[in-house]
């Protein structure tokens, strides 16, 4: 069995009877077990996965299949899964067994996907290296001394190492796209509102968006089709036309924003330039565009995300669920000790930063100012999309960096998100896909589309992947 088979290949293998869903689940469970050193998983749900595989095999025998029937996937550990630990990689939720499924989990299960388990991540999705997890760092299967990116590092590394056919992730400021690029896989952050946030543990509510991490853009589209759509349980989820990948080659106008390309390291620029030439050779036209407020995105993002996080994380009080300190003498002790013991240092830093930005005397200078610049950043994109269909940019300033290189330098870590936060602030869909290698590590490119323009960026991604093999490269890491 090929551990790096994409979902389309698995679909035909299952339908042709080359292997059963049960065999497939056994195969992946064996690989997950053997790859324990990568630390991709927080929880493995073997029993329920095998039971679901039996049901899938029956559905396949009865010819009652959908595109995902029998496909083994894993969920980032911030999607609530009924009866299964949902820790958010935090000590605060180390004992939290969700009483209900997230809409994303529910929809993927109803579409036939089998949940293998829950993947590791940065604590509360706050991080760009997967080093802030209470359960320890995830290793990058391309080079175990390097980080897999974050915060959906476990999901990206699991797909890259062939431990699941695909995974869910979440993206607040780049948490799907950057790990996808560091691990050489394909990740999609949908338009804000495309995918329901119900049951997805909140970090920054005006930015958080769930999405797929997969081997190909085509697989990401298949998963998105199952995940997307309005949900009465999330009043911010949009009513929008379903994503439709169009394989016809309508020539597109692709914007090249100078603010993303000018300061790029020359070895990264060389890889990105080659990707741009490939897209041009496919008949698309690349033209320069300007997004003048890009440089402010990191500052704006860390104020808004921090402010929303400080509000969202005030719910962890040691009373209703999660970690509770032992023997508090009074109510303040209960709150304070439970929170101090339950949260890690990065989470505390963000809560404090956000509280600072919201506090009396600083609100106008920080929070309000950030919201004003957020509008300017969004307007830059709206103006650009009057001229072009999609934008082509790098995902990250570098390839995966070594563990501990930035963990003591929060600002240096935050600056890793320079190319991903602007689309998050504007609520735009963005696809990260492998486009080359630098010093044996994968490089990703980012295609940003207009609001609800997933069809365009996924179609372009499919065209690119039909023409290139970067997505078909796999790490030499082998654990069998």
């Amino acid at each position: 069995m090929n551990p790096y088979a994409n979902m389309a290949q698995l679909r035909s293998g299952l339908d042709n009877g080359d292997f059963s869903a049960e065999e497939l689940v056994h195969f992946y469970l064996g690989r997950i077990n053997a790859a324990a050193d990568l630390n991709c998983f927080i929880t493995v749900d073997s029993d329920r996965a095998l039971a679901a595989a039996k049901s899938a095999d029956k559905a396949i025998a009865d010819k009652r299949t959908g595109p995902l029937t029998g496909i083994p996937i894993a969920h980032k550990d911030l999607f609530c899964t009924e009866g299964l630990l949902t820790s958010c990689a935090s000590r605060m939720l180390h004992n939290f067994v969700a009483p209900y499924d997230a809409t994303v989990v529910d929809r993927l299960r109803k579409a036939g996907a089998i949940t293998l388990g829950k993947t590791n991540m940065d604590e509360f999705a706050m991080g760009s290296s997967n080093e802030t997890s209470f359960y320890g760092p995830v290793k990058n299967p391309w080079n175990q001394a390097c980080v897999p990116g974050g915060s959906s590092g476990g999901s990206a590394a699991a797909v890259a190492a062939g431990l699941a056919a695909a995974c869910t992730g979440s993206d607040t400021g780049g948490s799907i796209r950057q790990p996808a690029s560091f691990c050489g896989v394909t990740g999609l952050k949908p338009t804000y509102g495309r995918v329901s946030r119900y049951g997805m543990i909140a970090f920054a509510s005006s930015l958080d968006q769930g999405g797929p991490i997969a081997c190909t853009a085509s697989d990401a589209g298949t998963l998105l089709n199952a995940m997307e759509g309005h949900d009465p349980n999330d009043s911010t989820s949009a009513i929008a036309e379903a994503t439709d990948i169009d394989s016809s080659r309508r020539p597109l106008k692709i914007g090249i924003p100078s603010q993303y390309w000018n300061d790029l390291d020359s070895s990264m620029a060389k890889v990105l330039e080659a990707a741009r030439h490939t897209l041009e050779s496919l008949g698309h036209d690349c033209v320069p565009v300007e997004l003048p407020h890009t440089e402010a995105a990191i500052a704006v993002y860390y104020v808004i995300a921090g402010a929303e996080a400080s509000t969202n994380l005030s719910r962890y009080d040691g009373v209703r669920y999660g970690h509770r300190t032992t023997s508090p003498e009074n109510l303040d002790d209960l709150y304070q000790f439970s929170r101090t013991e339950g949260f890690g240092s990065e989470v505390k830093r963000r809560i404090l930063t956000g509280t600072y930005a919201l506090s009396v005397g600083y609100y106008d200078a920080y929070y309000l100012k950030a919201q004003q610049i957020r509008r300017l950043i969004r307007q830059d994109f709206l103006d650009a999309f009057m001229e072009v269909d999609v934008l082509l940019t790098p995902v990250s300033p570098s390839t995966a960096f070594e563990r501990e290189a930035l963990i003591e330098d929060p600002v240096g870590m935050y600056q890793q998100d320079i190319y991903t936060t602007p689309a998050s602030l504007a609520g735009l869909p963005a696809l990260s896909l492998p486009c080359g290698m630098r010093e044996q590590m994968p490089v990703g490119m980012q295609l940003i589309g207009p609001h609800f323009g997933e069809s365009s960026i996924l179609s372009l991604g499919c065209q690119y992947q039909n023409e290139t093999d970067w997505h078909a490269l796999h790490p030499a890491y082998e654990h069998d």
């Binding site: 911010t236 500052a299 009080d317 009074n330 309000l368 100012k369 004003q372 509008r375 929060p410």
Partner: protein, 93 residues
Amino acid sequence: MDQQTIDKLLSLCQLSLQPDDREKLLRDLSSIVELVDFMQSIDTDGVKPLAHPLEVNQRFRPDEPDTSFEQERYQAIAPQTRDGLYLVPRVVE
């Protein structure tokens, strides 16, 4: 950013700190504030704040009776409950 501001923030956030961590936190928060101060260089005169990327109105569900949360199931994950109530240290003597 100074130690007094840190104390105020910690109290607002219901967090506490080991004495050894204070210097590092002050350093980190100061560098974060320096990073976000870049915003002050942007002219935002007359720009309306943007709170939500899509600026659509939130949609309300039809006002129809539906099943509600089951108290017992939701309280099963609470650290301490009794008779359907969440327990906390005594607040009123």
